[in-house]
Amino acid sequence: MCQTSYKSKISCEIIKNVHLIDQVYEMILDCPSIAMEAKAGQFVNLYCHHMGRLLPRPISICEIDREGGRLHLVYAILGDGTAEFASYVAGAYIEVLGPFGNGFEFDPDNQDDVLIIGGGVGTPPLVQLAKELKGKKTIVVGFRSSPYLIERLGKYGEVYVTTDDGSAGFKGHVVDLLEKKGLQGHIYACGPTPMLKGVKAYASKNNLPAQLSLEERMGCGFGGCVGCVTKIVAETELGFIYKKVCKDGPVFDAKEVLF
């Protein structure tokens, strides 16, 4: 173990680990020190028990219960690691390191209109953000088929839902809905790359400030391996440099991101 004055992994009790819908689960962790420090838009590293799976699984913080010392994470089963997480029962322990990343940038007293945009498994971090933002909030969230977290988001603003198959809400993608409704505001978005690309274009066309939270495969989560890069506009020969999603991000100004 690291000495007490140094940070280290924490073995956290799983308070709850429940199925939400389809392949989506919510895990509540008892981890006061991380909850104390955490900000909206940051993530934590979860480590698998299966010792063949060594790399961390980065999962965004969905809600922070600072008094209770708890973190809420909402995750989808995508592969073996997240399937393993889904099998854990309450009372079990999981190793956690974090919080990591810069988080969303905002002035907690700002009253400007905001446009919160989520896609699929990019939705969870927007819950804490919506809770903390002050302005009038319009929330647009897109899913392949079954929406989730809608009620929680509904507490903080007006929510529009889109689904690819039209099984709930508006049929189509979130950007289609943005266009259709001509929604405006300071944008905070998290979701799959094609969606973020569309959001960037929409923001630029409408001259809206936009922060995008990106995803990339990670080796460490804390800046050690330079594995998780994304292209950031720069005055180099190729017009970009690589920055680390885990440390320099995951949230970037849309203008900076080169898809």
């Binding site: 495969r217 050690g224 998780c228 190729l238």
Partner: protein, 300 residues
Amino acid sequence: MNLGINIAGIELKNPIMTASGTFGSGREYEPYVDINKIGCVVVKGVANVPWMGNPAPRIVETYGGMINAVGLQNPGVEVFIAEDIPFLRQFDTKIAVNLAGRTIEEYVAVASRLATADVDFLELNISCPNIKEGGVAFGIDPNMAMKVTEAVKKVAKQPLIVKLSPNVTDITEIARAVEAGGADAVSLINTLIGSRIDIHKRQFILSTKHGGLSGPAIKPVAIRMVYQVANSIRLPIIGMGGIMTGEDAIEFMMAGATGIAVGTANLLDPCATMKILDEMLIFMQNKGIENINDIVGIVK
């Protein structure tokens, strides 16, 4: 107990080093690690000019290991000298700079520039599998390995470690070549070349198709090669490849390594070096080993 070792005339307070590319220049580890307790920080590859590195995805997990295709992204030797050396010199640890290059001229350029810099070792990386321009050819051809070692040695003002590739038929041949070329020490192993396919998307996961396999999965290959090299050259060896515990580190030393480097383990747990140091001490205590040098190469 004596943990101190000597590599090419430089005293390290203990055998623990960091494997290049897995510890940055130490900055990211400051919250987790008492850098004063590390024998030597080996920084990530540094080239004469900034390198972009490869597109993402650069990392993929494998059973008991990982594959990386970082491609030696680095801001170049000037930034390194301006920012990283002062940072590291705050701590009581040695500094080794891993040299990246595509040609002999590039290697020589970065080594020359570092001649006046305050670092303790140069580590010549002739074995990174992720760069296309032929850098890897130095590591798999004995003649080329000797030539680049000679050229860099000529301009080097610090002891020169040469880092060997495991992707060869006979690693002792390369080791002998770099010894002949004037290397002061060798380090091994760099990563094995490996690949993983996303069977759902029907494409390679890494942007470069193949990358460097590291982690505990490769330890048996590393132990074998350290032993083989220890028995074929006289230079000190820095052993690495999948070290996760103090016992792993001891295994490398018994196979013939004087120093050991922690790589992938740093990524999986930023406290890894501190844990490994503690576990080595416990092992020495339990076994009554007074001087760590006594176990180097003890296995015959």
